[in-house]
């Protein structure tokens, strides 16, 4: 974990309210793993105060570039989207424990399921799985046509099914309607109801879910982001430092 004053190299809008930002810092390298996140400070001054957790979407270790994709929603992300190339973006990272890439073997089959703004970390994961010779199938769900992003990027890595809740693009409905696939591993990131629905797929293979939680510190000190461990009133995990990726069945969603 380092505090890096990165340089914003490039920023563009890639879908409705969705922005892709590329950051440069000489310390950015392959220590930044799929499923980990960076904690981003938006704006100078103390309003907004807290950092924003944003997943790592892609890393170029040679050029020391990190790509993140975010939805401009509230105060912090709306400030971020107004930053211009050359601006200094203060990030902490890499934080958390990512997906267990090393566990998956060449030739195995992985399904990657993303919902909305949960899609970005799966891009980096897919890249790394492909490097290992894993067959990757993607199922990405969005609200509507306007919010779809990275369609071509994912297609280059493996088959892609897109669903939209309003049926305006790809298959109509939720990602879970498109999951009659066999797999060795299922990796998912998205809204809680989606993750809850995916817990059932544990019977079919190994399932890893990336969770979201409101955070204070992002490094495990403040206990803002805890979740219960199944079968105990007191045992807990911290999403920021024990997760955000957990094996399905470990923690209560």
């Amino acid at each position: 974990m380092k505090q890096l004053k990165t340089e914003l190299v490039n920023q563009r809008k890639i879908a409705a309210s969705i922005y892709e930002a590329v950051l440069y810092h000489e310390s950015i390298d392959d220590q930044f793993k799929p499923g980990q996140f960076v904690h981003v400070k938006a704006g100078a001054g103390s309003d907004p105060l807290l950092r924003r957790p944003i997943s790592i979407c892609h890393v170029d270790p040679e050029e020391h570039l990190l790509t993140m994709i975010y939805r401009a929603e509230g105060k912090g992300t709306n400030l971020l989207k107004n930053e211009v190339p050359g601006a200094v973006i203060d990030i902490l990272g890499p934080l958390g424990n990512g997906f267990p890439v090393d566990e998956v073997k060449s030739g195995q089959k992985a399904v990657l399921v993303g919902g909305g703004i949960g899609v970005p970390p799966l891009y980096y994961l897919s890249e790394k799985l492909r490097e290992r010779g894993v067959a990757v199938h993607h199922v990405n769900g969005f609200q509507s046509k306007e919010s779809v992003f990275y369609e071509n990027e994912f297609k280059e890595l493996g088959p892609l099914t897109i669903t939209t809740a309003d049926g305006s693009y790809g298959e109509s409905g939720f990602v879970t309607s498109q999951l009659d696939l066999s797999f060795d591993y299922l990796f998912a990131c998205g809204p809680s109801p989606m993750l809850q629905a995916l817990e059932a797929y544990r019977s079919k293979g190994k399932v890893y879910l990336s969770l979201e939680q409101r955070m204070g510190c992002g490094i495990g000190a403040c206990l803002a982001c805890v979740c219960h461990v199944h079968g105990s009133d007191l045992a807990y995990r911290k999403v920021c430092s024990d997760g955000p990726v957990f094996e399905a069945g470990e923690v209560v969603l």
Partner: protein, 313 residues
Amino acid sequence: MSRLTIELPGLSLKNPVMPASGCFGFGREYSKFYNLEKLGAIMVKATTQEPRFGNPTPRVAETSSGMLNAIGLQNPGLDNVLQSELPWLSQYDVPVIANVAGSTIEDYIAVSEKISKAENVHALELNISCPNVKEGGLAFGTVAETAYEVTKEVKKVSRVPVYVKLSPNVTDIVSIAKAVEKAGADGLTMINTLLGMRIDLKTGKPILANGAGGLSGPAIKPVAIRMIHQVSQEVSIPIIGMGGIQSAEDVVEYFLAGASAVAVGTANFVDPFCCPTIIEDLPPLLDELGVNHINELIGRSWKNEWTLQSSSR
């Protein structure tokens, strides 16, 4: 760095900057970022007799220049703190201030007695002002009589000096400060968080699962400065000040108001290196202000008519 040393009951501080309780766990996480011995002291997370899971999530919400928290005193309980957390921390040569919480006076007595015997615990901080537990906590801190009572009982059993943490959610903080001083408190820590709430427009409900929570961060600094300015003129025990501290300048403002040391809470979340940075920034700032030792600043805003340096356009 001897310009920063401060002597307080039970605490020989190499510098007056310490992390605030609940914002630093028991130090494990931050020990990965820097040597904890750089700190003046460490105020560890509240300890209760029994382990507590705390409140449901979401437990934090952001506000303008502040944040709300309702962690609910999650902690592994007294036994675990004594057997695991404090021994782990003892590898560092840094005084620990143990934050004690409970729902009844008996709780406070039991935890205080035992935790004050731990070797590296140099002082207690009685958290009679936590806004996030239904049963007690805050109530102790908002009524002078009960604040007096709990302080007096804890003083009887504690092996180390006792600091009492005051709640800002009161009409008359001076009367509470005087009550705990009279009960034998060795020092005060102030302020705990202000009670606040944020509501989510989309759900129509409070963002925090607990409803209300404690407001911390730069937003509350002026309230803390005002209270320390008031209280320090009315008591003769030292005050460890906290609330929104982010910089060496903030530390000086607290000293001028009447604090003898400071704690940094929320700022650790924004910048995990903020405590050592503040400590490094203090000596040059003292130079700029023409001050030899930081203790010359204590209470200067009300102590007499001298002026640090005339401001020039």
